[in-house]
């Protein structure tokens, strides 16, 4: 794994993010934009919930028979004149891509947006070998200029404000008039369009990801709103598709079901502007398109998730709805998660891919509010899976000593209900008495983590169990 992970420093990352004014301003756009748009799109389609069930079932069915669908897919790609390469891990995928680029004598490579390309760190590898990778999705282009990782899986530069983008463009596009006006976002877009248009036309190889692979026809599918993924794949001589094993679906009908929930969940659109189905290289009857078509199928730990509780995570279609609705993501943004995939889906997937020893903080950074699961188009039980990671972390003794002893102490009481009731009653009574005047505590022993940032409200004196019993009695009477 070459993409460096700062997931072990999640707490420090989060603290820094909370104090970053620029970031906090930019994160306001996530809360405002995505949630309402998704809700409106869902409300406009009475069949939306039924389609979510259908999407979940298609993915489950495919995963259960993944070996057979992969075989069928491979056969179809070959029959259409394309090449299929299998990569066990990131290093192997990088080597395959580099050797294809070298065979074609590539100097520059344009790239459509691909999270897997971030996962394998292909840009760095190409650069180290004298090939220039150019990100063409506007957001990806911006973060490439800044040397950053995406902070969101569909809106990679969501952590930035327009003034920051303007600074980057002035720093990098030095061939343009220094006095030009870039005060409006549309001017930034127009400049990026012109700069990247030349890059598209000059590229030797185009690399895209795949939202889906279709076994029936050997087709790879990308969805974009900008059209950059299309210019990436139809202009150069060689098109390389980088996809992981779980992108497979059986048929064109199946992918049409998934496409009906993808854009609605992601941006609230009926459909993304461009949905592109690519099958093999250009035909003798084509006037344009790539002469060579390669698909690199990456495993990188995913096959080991099959047959475990985490198999459900392989249904993910990378819409980003979970992070758009996550209060933790809203507070700290994507970079704090420390690796490629942020938010709730990242909190479940990252420990699978880089190990729970490195990414154990991520599944702990959740309030289990359940919004992620409620909006997931393929109904992944994200809170349940995060809980699984917490359990594994505990079993493997990776949880910090203070948390472990705290849990042990709680466990001691929880196993002795009479003692538990007595102790909680005594504690609540004492706290109510002590806090009776101010109604709150500015300081409490062993609760510094809480009282450092906010007051602790004084309990009323009654425990939850007491209240429960009282109200049940009241209801019966």
């Amino acid at each position: 794994m070459t993409v460096h992970s700062t997931s072990p420093q999640f707490k420090q990352n989060a603290a820094r993010a909370l104090n970053d004014d620029q970031l906090q301003k930019a994160l306001g756009n996530v809360k405002q934009g995505f949630i309402d748009k998704r809700q409106m799109a869902a409300d406009k389609l009475p069949e939306f919930e039924a389609l979510r069930d259908s999407a979940r079932d298609i993915k489950n069915h495919t995963l259960e028979h993944l070996d057979l669908y992969l075989e069928a897919y491979e056969e179809k790609v070959k029959a259409s004149g394309g090449h299929v390469h299998f990569a066990r891990d990131a290093a192997e995928a990088r080597d395959i891509i580099l050797s294809i680029c070298r065979e074609t004598g590539a100097k520059t490579v344009t790239k459509g947006k691909s999270m897997i390309s971030e996962e394998i760190g292909i840009n760095h590898h190409l650069e180290a070998n004298g090939i220039t990778p150019v990100e063409t999705d506007l957001g990806e282009y911006i973060i490439q200029l800044r040397g950053e990782l995406p902070s969101h899986i569909i809106a990679p530069a969501v952590h930035l404000n327009a003034t920051q983008v303007e600074e980057d463009f002035r720093r990098v596009h030095t061939h343009l008039d220094a006095k030009r006006d870039l005060s409006e976002p549309v001017q930034l877009l127009t400049e990026a369009r012109a700069v990247l248009r030349e890059r598209f036309l000059a590229a030797d190889v185009g690399i895209t990801g795949a939202n889906f692979l279709v076994a029936e026809t050997g087709t790879s599918i990308i969805v974009t709103n900008e059209g950059n993924g299309d210019l990436t794949q139809i202009l150069p001589k060689t098109h390389i598709v980088l996809a992981s094993i779980e992108k497979l679906v059986p048929t064109l009908e199946d992918v049409s079901q998934l496409l009906r929930v993808l854009a609605r969940s992601a941006t609230g659109q009926e459909l993304s502007v461009y949905t592109t189905f690519s099958t093999g290289p250009r035909r003798s009857t084509d006037a344009d398109g790539p002469e060579n078509y390669h698909v690199v199928i990456l495993d990188n730990g995913r096959s080991s998730m099959l047959g475990t509780a985490f198999e459900e995570m392989l249904r993910c279609i990378r819409c980003g709805a979970c992070m758009n609705h996550c209060p933790v993501y809203h507070a700290v943004g994507g970079h704090a998660y420390g690796w490629v995939y942020p938010g709730p889906m990242g909190a479940v997937l990252t420990p699978s891919l880089i190990g729970v020893d490195k990414a154990g903080h991520l599944p702990n950074a959740s309030t289990f509010c359940g919004r992620c699961e409620s909006v997931c188009p393929v109904r992944i039980p994200l809170p349940k899976l995060m809980r699984h990671w917490r359990e594994r972390e505990f079993e493997r003794h990776l949880t910090p000593a203070t948390v472990r002893s705290g849990l042990q102490l709680w466990g001691f009481f929880a196993k002795r209900p009479a003692l538990y009731r007595f102790a909680t009653r005594a504690a609540m009574g004492a706290l109510a008495l002590a806090g009776r005047q101010r109604g709150r505590f500015a300081w409490l022993p062993m609760a510094k983590g809480w009282t450092k940032y906010r007051d602790f409200p004084a309990p009323q004196g009654e425990t939850f169990q007491q209240r429960w019993t009282r109200e049940r009695k009241g209801a019966r009477a």
Binding site: N29, V30, E47, L51, S54, I58, D67, L68, Y69, L70, E71, K76, S80, F86, R88, T136, A155, A157, L160, A162, V165, L189, R193, L196, F200, L201, E216, T217, G218, N225, E226, G227, D230, L231, I234, I245, P250, L252, E253, S256, L259, R260, E270, L271, S272, V273, Y274, T275, T279, G280, R283, D286, A287, D288, G289, I297, S303, S304, G307, T308
Partner: protein, 223 residues
């Protein structure tokens, strides 16, 4: 062991299968053969005038513009008018589509170029394979008739679609693709296009004309 064998081996070990099970193989073959439909939204399940009206409404929802002409013979005039209304030069690029080529372009003063785009064209016209009323989507198939570069490089993309090719849903278009190319086969590129190019990557503000066309204009031919 090759990476391929390793990956298949690992998948099968995790799933607890061998890959030779007759029942599994049959189930997979059957699904690929029958390609069963899933949930089809009612919205698009209308016919005739209603379907064309829905298509046009959805095209406009996607921020494209749409107009209707009575016959193919009226298309050149309609496109010339569109270009004039937007103060665009009277130039147009198109592929070899016989449906487009036989239209009376000499009725207009348009300067027509043929073949794929190299990135310097302001306006291009393509003929769609079909339309999808459910979402106002155009289905384009690649060929010398309608080169894929015309869908993306020009600033203004004009798409002609026959009213009879406007389907209710995506699934109906796939059936037509299968009929034209054979079951399990596809043209090199199928583009579904729903509106003009856009980006929300700067402060989540929607801006049109990212890398693809800034304008998308649809001409529905009735006859």
């Amino acid at each position: 062991m090759s990476s391929r064998d390793d990956i298949f081996g690992n998948i099968r070990r995790s799933l607890g299968v061998k890959g030779t099970e007759t029942i599994r193989r049959q189930m997979v073959e059957d699904r690929l053969e029958r390609s069963p439909r899933g949930v089809i939204p009612k919205r698009g399940q209308v016919s005739g005038e209603e379907r064309i009206a829905l298509f046009k409404t959805m095209v406009e929802t996607s921020l494209a513009t749409v107009t209707e002409v009575a016959s193919a013979a009226e298309v050149p005039q309609s496109i010339a008018l569109f270009l004039r209304n937007h103060n665009l030069p009277a130039t147009l690029r198109m592929g070899d589509d016989p449906r487009l080529k036989t239209m009376p372009w000499s009725d207009t003063t348009l300067d027509i170029a043929h073949g794929p785009s190299e990135g310097r064209d302001l306006s291009a016209v393509s003929h769609a394979f079909g339309g999808i009323a459910e979402s106002g989507t155009l289905a384009m198939v690649s060929s010398a008739d309608n080169p894929s570069t015309l869908n993306f490089l020009p600033d203004n993309h004009i798409v002609v679609v026959s009213a009879k090719d406007i389907a209710s849903d995506y699934e109906s278009v796939w059936n037509r693709v299968r009929f034209a190319y054979g079951k399990g086969s596809m043209p090199r590129t199928v583009n579904w296009i729903t509106g003009p190019s856009r980006s929300g990557d700067i402060e989540q503000t929607l801006l049109l004309g990212a890398h693809g066309p800034r304008r998308l204009h649809v001409v529905v031919v009735r006859e």
